[in-house]
Amino acid sequence: MKPKVAFFDFSSCEGCQLDALDLNPEELIALLGAIDIVNFREVMSEKSDDYDIAIVEGAITRESEIGRLQNIRQQAKILIALGSCACIGGLNCLKNHLPMEEALRIVYGKDAGYYDTIPARPLNAVVPVDYYVRGCPANPEELLKVIKAILLKKKPEIPGFPVCVECKMAGNICVFERGMTCLGPVIRAGCGAICITSGRFCWGCRGLVDEPNTESEKEILTKYGLSVDQIVEKFKIYNSYTEVAR
């Protein structure tokens, strides 16, 4: 029996879903041979509420989303959080630093009264999450790895170490040596240090590692010329929801 897979989205740009099946054609065909996709708003009009695996993108930012997510959780045997918003709250949580009314006013202006909003949160603040496919956008190869692990009933081997490991493996020159600053030392790898390899720096989209030495990281950022406010801003972009940025 092929497992039935459904995609869902909450507050997000839906980019992770767009990317999710951006595989090479052979891989895609092989994947479709291994699972049945029964619900995927972005690519098909059929819908089914009978599914085994729910792949969920987006953060929870409205009261009404809580019940919807709980229903999905109830139906799905396995729930996979897809992308930064779903895994760690992501960019959505930037608004948490404002009073909710002000956030509404900034976004909707005089129409603010028609909308409701609550502080943004990742999926696991509402329901238990079984697997995390991190990143902004999430890496389709990693989603594939998780799906294969589920099919094989094994634990997916997703790196728990910081970006520095993959950055060194890629043969990069350290961002700090190039006169910029980087969150790589405390952020989860798995992205292959893609931003740094492309000449930028780590923004922190995969979230903090399990035991981040944020004190040391802050000290280093200070040493390389960042003010406390700048450091907080840097952490806030993706990691507002965690304690660090507070």
């Binding site: 291994a34 094989l152 910081p162 490991v165 060194k168 043969g171 020159i173 030495n213």
Partner: protein
Amino acid sequence: MPYRRSILIVDDQQIVRDSLSDWFKQAGYPVTTASTAEEALEILEKHDFGIVIADIRLPGETGLSILKEVRVKRPWIKSIVITAYPSPESAALARKLGAIEYLAKPVSPDDLEKLVSEALSSTSEATVSTSIYRITTPETRRINQSFSLNSADIRAIVEGLLQEMEVIGVKTKQGKFVFDRIKSFEELCLDYDVTVLPPTRYLRPAKEALLKYQSGETPVVEPVMDTTPRAIIGIHPYDLKAIELLDEVFITSNPDPNYIARRNSTILIGVDCLYPSKHCFAPSMGTHIVESGFDLLLTDIGSSIVATVGSAKGAALLTRYTHAPLASGEEIARQKAVREEAWEEAILKHGLFLHIPKEKLPKLLEENYDNPYWETRSEKCLSCGSCVMVCPTCYCFDVQDEADLTLKSGQRVRSWDGCVLVDFATVATGENFRHDKASRLRHRIYRKGKYLLERYGKMGCVGCGRCAEACLAEIASPLEAFNAIAESDALKKQMIAREIKTRSELYLPQFAELIGIRELTAREKVFEFKLPEDRPLGHKPGQFVEVMIPPIGEAPISVSSSPTRGNTFQLAVRNVGSVTHAMHNLEPGAKVGIRGPFGNGFPLERLKGKDILFIAGGIGLFPLRSLIQYTLDCREEFGRIIILFGSRSPSERLFTDELAEWSKRTDIEFLETVDRADQEWKGNVGVITTLIPHIQITPRKTISVVVGPPIMYRFVIVELKKRDLADDNIIMSLERRMRCGVGKCGHCQINGVYVCQDGPVFTYAQLLTLREAV
């Protein structure tokens, strides 16, 4: 590796050539034929083979001359000799020249095919592929010789290599230097300080496939190997030393086929480091200058480039692409001077050097495992892994299976991993065996300065300084760690020396006041002492002191009381020698010299939570009493307490009041016996071993602590072994002549062990390794 299966058939008879050739072609082997040895040798200059099948008698040179050449130039080729004129002499010669088979004609092609297939499949990993590069060792170019090159020669070599193989060279990247694939001579940069990653990444890449597999009814597992011919140009001496260590790790013990395949197909061209980086401390590690470990080593001496030959491959490069003459004596002297000047200058400029000889590192680290330095040093550690990722001698890896979507096939890949990463030592149950930063940082430094050296005989750190440069928290440099530990060690030793000085030497006692005397039997008394200012003795149960009564002398006496019984201490003494005799004549208020406490004492931590079976014979109770009291005072920390005590006769029973108390208590089990009863004695009679069958013990949970005369040990151990007690769970305290108490005089030594320092408490397991002990 197509050549591995290919066969060269050399025979002057066309019919033989054709029939064998057809046969093997049909069996799927690529076949080449030659009719003379000369023709074969010419073919062998250009092409590689797995097997050569050669006839001996040929027009011109014999087939054996092919074997001779093959052995020198392509030692991996296996050869089979066939001849219509077999003789013991030619057979012996063929064997000597490496032939794996010597067959008399006519040869059955079927048999021959079997031989070939066996020979090819037995190709060991070690000889898997070496370079397909043409190796010719010219008479005039030998290993260790140096030649004088100019820049055009270097260009010729590099461009020649570019034609033939993948060339890795040092080039610039964003203001730094890296080893990377080069496509032209112009990209190459040989006057660099240090590269971001070491060249070892081409011998053990960040990620590589080890196996391909297919599961199912007949599972298939195939090795995956990279035998791409490759030259690495511009390796500094410290990195060559690192490769030597990797060779030791991956080739000498449990040969690693993937490493060997790469290593064998790689040409290493070193270059002397004339501009050491500011973090480099190679001279302290003895890795700044190398005499071997390269195929070719280049030194830019200004007027010319001296190339030292390290292997036949290196010699061949020079022959093939240059007409370089031997370097002059002057040039060789200049080569030496240029190297040394560069490093001297670097040491002066950067001030980086090890403050102790590197040979002392293992011992230094051994003695500083618990140094608080590791904790403080690691506070800033990000556990980011940068230090191990850039290290040329770090080689730890992770292995993962990557399945295809069929879920039936896939590959097993290995990728770099490192001991400073949080999850490195985590097992499936979630237990992390190196869970704190400090122990991870220490482990890494210990690998660098101790573990690898002890295991492989080569320094685990080559002093390249890459980790120091990569570490944002600035805590990774092994040199800084080594020096800090050396400094703190020296301070510690100074303090010990100072303390000894202020305590006025090792052999001076402190004076304790005798505050109580109690007669135990006609021969035994117990004395209670108090140190000045009510200081506690600071002893552990099972330790002893040296008691000095001038001018009589000094004697070792075990402490009979537990440290839990206040600041005084008791010594129970049998009147048996001069010092003990003098003690027996002491009056309260007397001052007695005390040195110590000495010895290891009983292993309290090991005993906690266990059932303790005490077995004391006679005055063995004196030392054991300190531990019995301790366990009774901390009763809740121990399981069952069982005490067996034996005396020779009722009149020789010791501490009778305490024996009575023990027998009354319900939380201990106390059994007593005497060897010979008198009229009043109503208890057990018999030697102490007769008590052992009366008790029930759980061997797994029980530790027995036995003290008594030597003869008693022998019989008690036999009984305890009958009750399934492990050797490690039988603990004894030994009596020896402990003259000095500080492990110097030598009287108490058992084989290599000083009882006064390493004992007097030993497990039976330890004693079994000491032949003199029991």
